[in-house]
Symmetry: C2
Subunit: 270 residues, 2 copies
């Protein structure tokens, strides 16, 4: 059994399914058992979460929610996998302590160079208790022996030269503007009944449309009209929430973004 | 069920085990069913083989053996995974047709840049029927999305510039000399009762010692004496053949190689 937030990262769902794991989504962080039965919690090996600017929702777990998850994991003996590829990309608000810092004895913290250096590098890092990392070494070795050596050298140089810090400042200013602009466009163009998250960082906005709209079947129509999105239900392990979608604000320039949101709102309205 | 040769590549065994596959070694290519029961053959999803200069044995499958395996796979409906990272490194003899060329409809041929460009690049290629490659794309995507982009560009440039062909000629001359030298040293130093393979290419020699010698327990002694090897039993899915070992002739210079073989023969003798 693997616990996840709901929604959660599509690639994680695919990866867990390839090992035929029993994926059990948690309904939130407020209830005593996060909406999962006592029996399931006892069987859980680990809980996979993206606490900072989640993919796809863009939401961030509060310190209270993180502490509640840690308490649960200590009570039931499961490990927490804290996937944090967007943590460095915060545009507003205050950083929340990592889950790893709250429970270093039972958390694996995952970081990535994809969003702060270059996505094509396929490099990241893992921080955690030695015995858990030892298992990761063995798995990683059986998959690909090791990450590419040249890319590791380049990333090391990128960090030690100070280029990472300079680049990060630029990225944050760049993406912040795009986030603010997309939210302004949504406010301007979206019809009533559509709501969206207000992420403090990361790359994604998550839209909730009226219940009657199915974003999976709407997709072809949107694409022919010239706009693409990822249907939100793909991020739910059970395929639910078919009235949601993920938008990415990091890539498009302002003109294309305005045009895209305009088209999208028309597709949703008609 | 996954069929393999016996011995076979350690990394493949580890990888298959991580998916809890039932690994069934084939005893050879001569008998009707390669030493595997009719029932097991019917359950086999694929057969993993390294037909050229196998890791660890250095041996090459003859065309008759390849054809026999293809016939078997057609009869029982399993796929053949032809792992061929050493094929380009042939120092003597004549190239044997790939299994892929004998059965393109049911074979996935795997190649690697590790031995002809640089091992640190972690790049390779797969050739096979489209519907099988489609499944590979999905698996690969759930593992790491894609191979590193910079490395792919560099490898493409390495090929199109002609540097690959020039480098390959040099590599072949370089490794051939080392292979010949290690075989000459084994003939000179090894005690009676020790035999070894005579690979026509690749990087490895496989030694068979007298039955009374256990290369796993001999390892610490060898290491303190200053010589390392890989115990052959690690390459047998069932951990048998504890009187075998793999030697790598590609790395050491002649002086160190002579010294190493001398020490090894003393460790074996005493």
């Amino acid at each position: 059994v693997i616990l996840t937030s709901s929604p959660t990262y599509l690639g994680a769902i695919q990866s867990f399914k390839s090992y035929r794991a029993d994926i059990q989504p948690m309904s939130g962080w407020k209830e005593d058992t996060c909406g999962v039965s006592h029996e399931t919690l006892k069987k859980a090996k680990f809980c996979y979460v993206i606490p900072d600017f989640q993919n796809p929702s863009g939401e961030t777990m509060t310190i209270t929610e993180r502490q509640a998850l840690v308490d649960l994991s200590r009570k039931y003996g499961f490990v927490i996998v804290e996937d944090s590829p967007y943590r460095e990309l915060r545009y507003s608000g205050t950083p929340v302590e990592t889950i790893y810092s709250l429970a270093p004895e039972r958390t694996i913290h995952l970081g990535s160079f994809s969003k702060i250096f270059a996505p094509g590098f396929r490099l990241g890092w893992a921080i955690g208790p030695e015995e858990l990392l030892d298992s990761i070494y063995v798995c990683k070795q059986s998959l690909d022996l090791c990450p590419p050596v040249l890319d590791q050298y380049l990333a090391a140089e990128f960090m030690s030269s100070g280029a990472l810090d300079r680049n990060l400042k630029k990225s944050i200013a760049y993406y912040k503007e795009k986030r603010d602009y997309m939210i302004a466009l949504l406010e301007k163009y979206m019809p009533e009944g559509v709501s969206w998250t207000h992420p403090e960082g990361g790359l994604f906005l998550f839209l909730t449309l009226p219940d009657s709209i199915d974003t999976v079947s709407l997709y072809d129509k949107a694409l022919s009209a010239g706009v693409a999105y990822v249907a939100g239900s793909f991020f739910y392990p059970d395929g639910s929430h078919r009235n949601t979608m993920r938008l990415n604000f990091s890539f498009l320039d302002k003109n294309k973004m305005e045009n895209g949101i305009k088209i999208l709102s028309e597709v949703i309205t008609h």
